[in-house]
Amino acid sequence: MLSSKEQKKIYELMVKTRVLEERLIKMNKSGQGFFWIGGPGEEAFNVPLGLLINKGEGLNHDFLHFHYRQSATLLTMGAKMIDVIRQMHNVAADPYSGGRNFVNHFAVKEWNVVNVTSPIEVQYAFCIGTGVAQARNKAKGITIVTGGDAGTAEGEFQSCLLWSSRKNRELPILIIVTNNRWGISTPQNEVHPKSGIAARAKGFGIKTAAVNGNNPLTSYEALQKAMHYVRKERKPFLMEVFVSRLYGHSSASGANWVGGEADCIREFEKQLKKKKIMKDSDFQKIRQKYEEEAKKALIEVLEEPKPDPASIFNHVFVDRKDAELV
């Protein structure tokens, strides 16, 4: 059971992320960023995930193959709000892509955060390799991969299930699917079987859990159990996590508040109040604190330079050598 202090910390990180995402949406709507995609509605799962990751660089730490709805995990791990705003405004100082990629497309070598990509589900193929390396390494590091329910239709998802579950060659991969029941505008029940995603993993002999991702406490507990299994047994585990999608798919679908879906922050506030851990005024103070931080960060970022056009050939190859045709 998490202490009151730990629950407060989770709440604070959830709000911090929500405030950041809402700021990013505002930036998009006011022309300060070309495109927004993010994770409002996934905070209750992604914050606990960030807290439980064995953070660091190299095989002894967790390798992370995330999708673009995990700002909460990154902020929990220690990413700065201002850096996400930098990526949104595509300035040169964006530490994840130097102004090259969409927001929430993180890449952090010192935390094993592998490039987040726009094509969905390719991470389920790449995670096989870090899984093979970590299976050989025999340390505590595991591979964690996250994708959405719609993308599980892609072949890489099946590749991940197959490669990670080969007899005597199992891979230590925590396979996460956040299920928001949508693929952009296509409802899940139109394109997927009724049996659910976890059921597919069972066919490969992979242990599974279905988790209410709108509750941070049950998410934390389920993650702890799943991670313990993968770390100890060095075998895959699949979590199907039911989450909300509170601002739609992305700015392409308007990025407006969606009614009728559970808001994990409101739900958690009810719990915290009931348990007398926090009260309304605490909630307001926390929100205000992060709104100010985000605003201050934005003002700073708006003054920062855009990338140098001459830099387009940087990192085509290591050391730029041979990148440019002369």
Binding site: G58, L59, F63, D94, Y96, S97, G98, R100, N101, H105, A107, V108, K109, V114, N115, T117, P119, V122, Y124, A125, F126, C127, I128, G129, T130, G131, V132, A133, Q134, R136, T143, G155, E156, S159, L162, W163, R166, N314, H315, V316, F317, V318, D319, D322, L325, V326
Partner: protein, 350 residues
């Protein structure tokens, strides 16, 4: 001398002993087969993957990200097409992350016709592959280069696509690989698996060296004054034979083996064309948006005032596949006769 298949095997052995290669994998790559062309036979770190090309490329990229030095095989390039977006990502990961993640991996795959491989064992891949940025792309034309290029590919910090001209895999080299025994029979006895039960067999590897063959450097196989012939892979030996025959007619060909298709050796190409004023690029990929067209476009732009005849491409016919029957295959990809005829025509253009 070693065959090209043996040379690749020797290089991979050197890689696992000296260059940190822990994973040489793909479909049928591990024991007992050691690859459909035996390129991975007897290697201690060779393993069989599921029949899943997307899984193979994904696994290689993950291994590279995790600091390993994987060599993955796609059994025939005809089966690599369903991995294009993953290849794209292997090539763009460094760029997208603004230099954060390096992807040091090698993918090897047999290409081209010449073994009566019909529609799905004859595809060329260089024209598509050279459209995928962030990769270095090599194709040897002899056993010695197959060895040297593989060692350099493994040591390169970028993803490298190693295209194998499958029809040359059984051809013996003329140059000795560092450490290779003098007698090819002795080498065969040491590293070729016996027929039948191989469960107790272990190869005896020679003590090998690294010839330090840089990527991006072409080799002038034959010096000449009248016409520059630019080729690589399976077409290269045919170009050499064409050059020998045309020499009897007084046509003096300079034959350039590109060896690395990207980044290619612009200087060697331009110097040669500026000297001869005539150029033919020969490859067996289909002719529309052919890799050779890029080379010719650069020659046209950079060497225009040196040209004495139209820069010419001799490539495969623009058809969906290579037909199985001998006359169909011969009509689809350049043959010795068509190379000779093309070179002669360009040489004779006033």
């Amino acid at each position: 001398m070693a065959t090209m298949a043996q040379a690749i095997r020797l290089a991979l052995h050197y890689g696992e002993e000296n260059l940190g290669v822990k994973d040489i994998f793909g479909e049928d790559v591990g024991p007992p087969l050691g690859g459909v062309f035996t390129c991975t036979q007897g290697l201690k770190n060779a393993w069989n993957s599921p029949l899943d090309e997307r899984g193979i490329i994904g696994c290689a990229m993950g291994l590279a990200i995790a600091g390993q030095r994987p060599v993955a095989e796609i059994q025939f390039s005809d089966y690599i097409f369903n991995t294009i977006d993953l290849l794209k990502m292997c090539g763009n990961t460094l760029w997208c992350s603004n230099g954060i993640w390096q992807v040091p991996m090698v993918v090897m795959t047999p290409v081209g016709a010449g073994i009566h491989g019909s529609i799905y064992h004859s595809h060329s891949f260089e024209s598509i592959m050279t459209h995928i940025q962030g990769w270095k792309i090599v194709m040897p034309s002899c056993a010695y280069d197959a060895y040297g290029l593989m060692l350099s590919a493994i040591q390169d910090p970028n993803p490298v696509m190693y295209l194998i001209p499958k029809a040359l895999l059984r051809s013996q080299g003329e140059e000795k690989i560092p450490g290779e025994p003098e007698n090819p029979k002795e080498l065969s006895k040491m590293i070729d698996a016996p027929l039948g039960d191989r469960s107790q067999w272990k190869p005896k590897w020679p003590d090998l060296g690294d010839p330090k063959m840089p990527l991006g450097k072409a080799k002038i196989r034959l010096e000449g004054e009248h016409i520059s012939v630019i080729s690589y892979g399976r077409m290269l030996p045919l170009c050499m034979e064409a050059a020998r025959q045309l020499a009897d007619e007084g046509v003096d060909c300079e034959v350039i083996d590109l060896r690395t298709l990207f980044p290619y050796d612009q200087k060697t190409i331009f110097d040669s064309v500026k000297k001869t004023g005539r150029v033919v690029v020969v490859n067996e990929d289909t002719e529309v948006t052919n890799y050779g067209e890029h080379i010719l476009r650069r020659i046209t732009e950079d060497c225009f005032y040196y040209l004495e005849a139209p820069p010419t491409l001799l490539a495969g016919a623009n058809v969906p596949g290579i037909g199985l029957s001998e006359p169909l295959e011969q009509a689809s990809v350049p043959q010795l006769s068509s190379i000779i005829n093309t070179l002669r025509k360009v040489a004779e253009t006033a």
